[in-house]
């Protein structure tokens, strides 16, 4: 097991290097730092001195990958590639356009993100599984059909409309919760509850339909027929046999996203004014703050790889037949 984990971690290194190269190519080769400087400073009447100043303030005035001007190992380290891309491995993210430390921002902003993402994840999972089990229980009846139709209809609505509709109904019309904003501590509950409800409802359509297919697939198997033949009640079959065995495919989709919860939700956070990592990223994209976007790409990739590893480990936990070696 431990040997397996170590091997997987080692396997992740080339992937991280690949991600690093892709982001580096995207941010520095497709467009030179000069282009970025001109973009940030405005198109017209930019003096070469202003560009030079902008670049040296941010450390973009170095050679891209190889520095001939300095001796020894610094030929490699005193470059944009090393300073901006390799440093990410040490979780050194540098500074944003507004000169704040990105690492520090991430540490403070990840808590509001989690306060929103974890309830959405847990409640959503519970609701989806319940819905799907219900539909599987009443399979091939009017109830099941209505459920599927409802799911397809819910899936066809853009997530933006869930947010707009929820804000309008609950906040503007019924004045139950504030439209947007955030507060620390226990006060967070009243700000987070609406985004959580909307996040859960928005996920019901695709989630429960997917789980329903998994349950139905499982219910067609021989062991279920055996269980029924032995005279087990339908609810016992469903909960004790089908649900447990369907957990394996469900876990595949679910465990991967757990680490990514840190990243927060881009859309919900910016709509509801929650100062998490999602809104941080959106602000950075809109302000074209490349340093922040680069850091978030890196963190997101690392978390995804962690998620893949967790998925494999969780298999051994739910399915004793799986042995990692």
């Amino acid at each position: 097991m431990i040997a397996y984990i170590i091997r997987r971690v080692l396997y992740a290194i080339p992937i991280l290097v690949g991600i690093n190269l892709i982001t580096f190519a995207l941010f520095f080769l497709v467009n030179t730092p000069d282009d970025m400087a001109r973009m940030q400073l405005g198109q017209k009447r930019v003096t070469p001195e202003a560009i030079q100043k902008w670049k040296s303030e941010r450390g973009y005035d170095k050679p891209l990958v190889w520095n001939d001007a300095v001796p020894g190992a610094r030929r490699f380290t005193d470059t944009i590639f090393f300073e901006k891309s390799v440093r990410l491995f040490a979780l050194d993210f540098g500074r944003a356009e507004d000169n704040r430390d990105i690492g520090n921002e991430i540490r403070t902003r990840m808590w509001p993100s989690l306060a929103l993402a974890i309830p959405v994840f847990l409640v959503g999972l519970a609701v989806n599984i319940t819905f799907a089990l219900g539909m599987a229980f009443f399979r091939a009846t009017v109830l099941d059909l209505t459920g599927v139709v409802l799911c397809v209809a819910l899936m066809s609505i853009s997530s933006l409309f869930y947010i707009i509709g929820g804000q309008y109904l609950l906040s503007k019309l019924w004045h139950l919760v504030p439209i947007s904003g955030y507060a620390g501590g226990l006060d967070a509950v009243k700000f987070v509850i609406l985004p959580v409800i909307i996040g859960v409802i928005g996920g019901i359509g695709s989630g429960s339909r997917w789980y329903r297919t998994l349950f139905l697939e499982e219910m067609g198997k021989d062991y279920v027929r055996t269980a029924r033949a032995k005279g087990l009640a339908e609810s016992a079959v469903l909960f004790r046999h089908v649900l447990k065995n369907a957990m394996i495919p469900i876990l595949t989709g679910v465990v991967v996203v757990i680490p990514l919860l840190f990243m927060g939700s881009l859309i919900a956070e910016s709509f509801f004014g929650i100062p998490g990592l999602g809104s941080y990223t959106i602000d950075a994209i809109q302000a074209q703050d490349f340093a922040v976007v680069r850091s978030m790409v890196f963190i997101g990739s690392v978390l995804y790889i962690v998620g893949l590893l967790l998925t494999d480990i969780s298999y051994t936990w739910v399915d004793p037949r799986v042995r990692l070696n």
């Binding site: 690949g18 066809s156 853009s158 881009l266 990223t281 978030m296």
Partner: protein, 450 residues
């Protein structure tokens, strides 16, 4: 003067490809059989009618030209306007040109905001001014209700007549040719479409059916223009994704060994990067490129078209991983089967095995993935435009419509019509696409055959 934008060319290429494929497979029973199964599902037939209506609007909007300017003296060479228009613009003529000053509610005769109006006898009062075009044909505003009711009734009558005509001609031709297709849902969907379109056409002659937006543009016109953007993103993306996904997936599954390792490495790496962020980064880079090379894009239309096309390319370049993974698994399974082994033993070349034995046997996965991706892409466009990395702000799309309307939520009374229009147009498109995709999956997937 006709103008061929890059996306237009690709859209028509796609239409040609689909037509050729339809013709090809209609003559081969084994290719036509799954489609026959698809069109035995009532939901598929109904949603297909809706999709065809959308596609027609989108195709009309993909024929662009630059109108000739009215010549001052007849001998001079004809000058062309800088602005690029489409056949749809020409067909909707009045909708495009009749703009108001600012917001007005659907079917309203007066503006949304109060303005000071000079009285004929001197002095001024603050009231809601009459619209320049909406309801301007009414001599007496009290006739408003009667006028609307008349137009709706006339529209419905026209729709009923058109429906009866269409259904009768269908019965003569299509029903006789394909008797197994459930025509009832098709007729119902057609009736629904016409019942909405008929009154809307008559009302649009005198009013703004869905109101106007902040700069006074007709919302119905914007919604119709958004259709092309959605369809282009939903279809051209798959055009980019398909060759890459097919080649990578089949190669990985068939050749195994280091080819498999390399391809798996590439798609795991691409998959690891959070999608929205990678798209955002790529789009930002495209934007920097466009801004630093203004000479390459002389007109606004070309610039926004390039942005739309690059968005499709980016989405496709990042979206092929899912298809590749599915195809890899299937090719892996197929390459172990006896008939492939037999082909190897006979000395058939790799290219021939791939083309004649593997590709036809994974084609159902490709078709399913194609139709399943469409609705997701349409929804993604709205979100990306909201984030600010979607289409160019000058391109009308559902995303830009929602984005503009979102800021006006707080107004009292609320400006709801832009949102409602975007909602219904998008919902109908995505719902039809989802239903159709489900039917296609059921028809093509050999596992769910009952």
């Amino acid at each position: 003067m006709p103008v061929l934008l890059a996306t237009d060319a690709l859209v028509w290429l796609l239409v040609l490809a689909v037509a050729a494929f339809t013709w090809y497979s209609s003559r081969r029973p084994h290719l036509a059989a799954p489609w026959a199964r698809v069109f035995r599902s009532p939901a598929a037939v109904g949603s297909c009618v809706v999709l065809v209506a959308y596609v027609l609007v989108g195709l009309l909007d993909s024929l662009h030209f630059r109108p000739a300017l009215p010549a001052k003296d007849p001998k001079a060479t004809v000058a062309y306007a800088v602005e690029v228009r489409s056949v749809l613009d020409a067909a909707l003529g009045v909708l495009r040109s009749r703009t108001e000053r600012t917001y007005s509610a659907p079917l309203a005769t007066r503006l949304y905001q109060k303005e000071s109006i000079e009285q004929p006898g001197g002095g001024s009062v603050r009231e809601f001014p009459r619209l320049r075009h909406g309801g301007s044909h009414l001599k007496n505003e009290a006739d408003w209700g009667k006028d609307i009711a008349l137009r709706v009734l006339a529209g419905l009558a026209g729709a009923a007549a058109a429906w009866a005509l269409l259904v009768l001609s269908l019965r003569r031709t299509a029903v006789r040719r394909w008797p197994h297709v459930p025509w009832r849902p098709a007729c119902a969907a057609l009736a629904l479409l016409l019942a909405v379109a008929g009154p809307a056409i008559l009302l649009a002659q005198g009013y703004h059916v869905l109101g106007t937006d902040k700069i006074g543009q007709d919302v119905l016109y914007q919604a119709l223009k958004s259709i092309r953007t959605s369809l282009v993103i939903g279809t051209l993306t798959t055009l980019v994704l398909l060759p890459v996904g097919i080649a990578a997936g089949i190669a990985a599954g068939y050749f195994k060994g280091w080819v498999d390792d390399a391809i798996q490495y590439v798609y795991t790496t691409l998959n690891s990067i959070p999608g929205v962020l990678l798209i955002a980064a790529s789009v930002l880079m495209v934007q920097v490129y466009v801004d630093t090379h203004p000479d390459l894009f002389p007109t606004v239309a070309q610039r926004s078209d390039f942005r739309l096309l690059s968005l499709c390319v980016i989405l496709g370049a990042l979206g092929w991983t899912g298809l590749a993974r599915l195809l890899r698994g299937e090719a892996l399974k197929l390459s172990e089967l006896e008939y492939i082994q037999a082909a190897h033993a006979f000395g058939v070349s790799h290219a021939r095995i791939l083309g004649r034995h593997i590709l036809p046997n994974v084609s159902h996965i490709i078709v399913i993935a194609l139709v399943m991706d469409f609705s997701g892409l349409v929804l993604a466009e709205a979100v990306l435009s909201y984030v600010g990395v979607g289409v160019d702000p000058s391109t009308t799309s559902f995303g830009t419509m929602i984005n503009a309307a979102r800021l006006e939520m707080a107004r009292e009374p609320m400006v709801w019509w832009s949102l409602a229009a975007a909602f219904f147009f998008m919902f109908a498109l995505v719902l039809a696409a989802n239903l159709f995709a489900d039917a296609v999956r059921d028809g093509f997937d050999p596992r769910v055959r009952v």
